[in-house]
């Protein structure tokens, strides 16, 4: 096993990997940009190196700087987390050249899966089901012919794409020309590659993905699916395992196909095969993510495994310690992605200082977090602060535990989307498992109608009592005024200007 591992990431995933290192007796090396000196992953690591300014391209995305730290810190391996360099085959190759183990698949597997059309060609040969459509980039004439053949609605997609960019739904032949041009130019702008392909548009699809794991000895297993249909603007917000519509038979079929995909790519380490599922529960290969997913904790809960530990073992050359038949799923897990964004104001990002943080714990609750009280959330990086994961004997208990944990969760100073999860978890369609990728947009279009007559009144009373306490705190010399049992735990905070004023008053005496 490695003695020292560099974690080329930040935020909650860096913390999660550093924790795994400590659990395995591996020393962890963190890297940080100018604005991350005080980040939690730096606090938790055994080593930490500064790698440059806030801009990711000059720090977390900079291959040379990362490899330089690997050399200086004598790290034997690099865990890329997700995002940043995690799916960058050039980086994986540079690691190999520098004699540092990249904790993930081979550069060849990553390259094969990196281009959607190439992946598609390989997968078709492996007998993987696809949404009917083209296998490669099309010119406009070919696109027109194919659309006629498979029938509208159809979808145009960027070959190099991801995250919803360069995608256009086309409802009828009249719209095809302009949509094609738009998709091409967006693809060019976003990915520097204007190749566009076309496929059948699936109505009310679900997004279900299958976790696979391979070792370097040709063994690949599947670890159950995740339902990821709850999305806002094509971004996942909540994920769960198992999926409410996947039964044992469907899981086995989907899992076996996922393993076939991985084997066709000579894949090892953690990977995820994304599928689109239609209303008849047919599923179609979408893409493969060649890294650890944000939502891996739900799989860890239902399998009882630790995927990051497993990544380390497999990367160091060990065989998978189990076979497919040893994997037993139990219970149900759901993850909420806690973002720094304001649900009451169009989900605008909300960076800033976290002035108060009260975190839930207790049975069935796991919290992977990159924040702490007093920390300032920087404006430069993505707004994922923490993941709150609930486990239960069944889906209902998992939902109810999450509602309980969200009731306890309090992030003060900045806005977070915790109220969104409360809405989702109480929604009858969600509770019935009636999900598709349009679910959340439909829910958010409805007015929120939570009303409570009592609590607004208590909010007013509370505010008045706080104000009274405050008034006292500003009046020096007022004593014994508050009717509080015992001594107050912490006196009301004194604002900075007030402290300065006092300091000046003292100085002038």
């Amino acid at each position: 096993m490695f003695k020292r591992v560099l974690v080329a990431n930040r935020g909650e995933i860096a913390v999660r990997i550093i924790r795994a290192c400590r659990e395995m007796g591996i020393e962890s090396v963190a890297v940080f940009s100018d604005v991350d000196r005080k980040a939690l992953h730096v606090r938790k690591a055994d080593y930490a190196y500064h790698i440059g300014p806030a801009t990711a391209s000059e720090s977390y995305l900079n291959v040379d700087k990362i490899l330089d730290v690997a050399r200086r810190s004598q790290a034997e391996a690099i865990h890329p987390g997700y995002g940043f360099l995690s799916e960058n085959a050039r980086f994986a190759r540079a690691c190999a050249d520098a004699g540092v183990k990249f904790i993930g698949p081979s550069p060849e597997s990553m390259e094969m899966m990196g281009s959607k059309t190439r992946a598609r060609q390989n997968m078709k040969r492996a007998g993987v089901p696809f949404v009917p459509g083209s296998e490669h980039g099309l010119d406009i004439d070919a696109a027109e012919r194919l659309a006629e053949q498979i029938g509208y609605p159809v979808m145009l997609k960027a070959a190099a794409g991801g995250g919803g960019k360069g995608m256009r739904m086309v409802a009828s032949p009249a719209d095809l020309h302009s949509a094609y041009e738009n998709a091409r130019s967006e693809a060019q702008r976003s990915f520097g590659d204007n190749e566009v392909y076309l496929e059948k548009f699936i109505v009310n699809p679900r997004h279900v993905e299958m976790q696979i794991f391979g070792d370097q000895h040709g063994n690949v297993v599947y670890l159950g699916e995740r339902e990821c249909s709850v999305q806002r603007r094509h971004q996942k917000v909540m994920e769960e395992s198992p999926s409410p519509i996947v039964d044992e038979d469907m899981r086995r079929r989907m899992g076996e196909i996922a393993v076939r995909v991985a084997k066709a790519a000579n894949y090892y380490n953690a990977g995820t095969i994304e599928f689109l599922v239609d209303e008849q529960r047919n599923f179609y290969f979408l893409e493969m993510n060649t890294r650890l997913q944000v939502e891996h904790p739900v799989t860890e809960f239902v399998t009882g495994l630790d995927l990051v530990h497993l990544q380390m073992h497999v990367a160091s050359g060990e065989k998978l310690p189990f076979k497919q038949e040893d994997i037993k799923l139990r219970g149900h897990a759901i993850e909420c992605r806690i973002y720094a964004e304001d649900p009451d104001n169009n989900y605008f990002p909300s960076p800033g200082q976290i002035t108060r943080l009260i975190s839930p714990s207790g049975p069935g609750i796991r919290r992977d977090s990159g924040m702490y009280e007093g920390w300032t959330v920087p404006i430069e990086y993505d707004p994922l602060l923490a993941k709150l994961v609930g486990y239960g004997e069944d889906r209902e208990q998992a939902i109810n535990r999450l509602l309980r944990a969200l009731y306890e969760y309090f992030v003060g100073g900045i806005k977070t989307n915790t109220s969104l999860f409360r809405r989702i978890l109480k929604d009858p369609d969600f509770r019935a498992g009636n999900l598709d990728t349009g679910f959340l947009d439909r829910l958010l279009a409805k007015p929120s109608n939570e009303t409570d007559v009592r609590r607004p009144i208590m909010a007013a009373v509370g505010a008045a009592i706080f104000a009274t306490m405050e008034a006292k705190a500003t009046l020096p010399g007022v004593t014994g005024a508050l009717p509080m049992n015992g001594n107050s735990a912490s006196p009301p905070p004194i604002s900075n200007w007030r402290r300065t004023a006092r300091a000046e008053a003292l100085r002038q005496r």
């Binding site: 993505d382 208590m458 007013a460 009373v461 509080m484 735990a489 009301p492």
Partner: protein
């Protein structure tokens, strides 16, 4: 002590008087006995006739005040009688020039209009980026762009005025 407390836009009058170990409270004319203790910083434990409430206070750096009770979060404004007039004056005005303020700290990516341009309510004026997300600042009303107070590429703080529409 008497406060006017605005909770999510609705004003309540709260009178507080100190009882033996509790507060005697009158809210909108209704009396109640309130046992309130500060447990941790910004966390009040409140008991009213056996019913328990944990009330958390949150003050954002922009000065907004919220009370959080369980999962519910209320925007709150406390006006004590003396400062009542001034606060009200700031709050009101819907007509006249309106400021377009940055809702978060971030970078100005693009400015989509020029000073003196006629704009519609809801029309995008400025694109800001923060946390890898681009967001459009929209015109609060039909009118004319009186002033643009920022430039492309500049960094702004939450609450900064970016433009004025009259």
């Amino acid at each position: 002590m008497t406060y006017d407390v605005v909770v999510d836009g609705k004003t309540h009058q709260v009178e507080l008087a100190r009882g033996d170990k509790t507060w005697l409270c009158k809210i909108d004319g209704q009396e109640m006995e309130v046992d309130a203790v500060l447990t941790a910083r910004d966390v009040l434990s409140v008991l009213v006739e056996g019913k328990a409430y944990e009330i958390k206070r949150e003050r954002s750096l922009q000065g907004e005040l919220h009370m959080v009770i369980g999962s519910a979060r209320y925007a709150v404004e406390v006006q004590d009688p003396r400062s009542l007039r001034t606060r009200r004056a700031v709050a009101g005005s819907e007509a006249g020039p309106q400021k377009v303020k940055a809702p978060m700290p971030g970078k100005i990516v693009r400015i989509l209009v020029n000073e003196q341009d006629e704009v519609k309510a809801g029309q995008s004026l400025i694109v800001m980026e923060a946390m890898k997300m681009q967001n459009e600042m929209k015109s609060p009303k039909d009118g004319r762009v009186q002033k643009i107070l920022t430039a492309e590429g500049s960094t702004v703080n939450a609450g900064d005025t970016l433009a004025i529409v009259e």
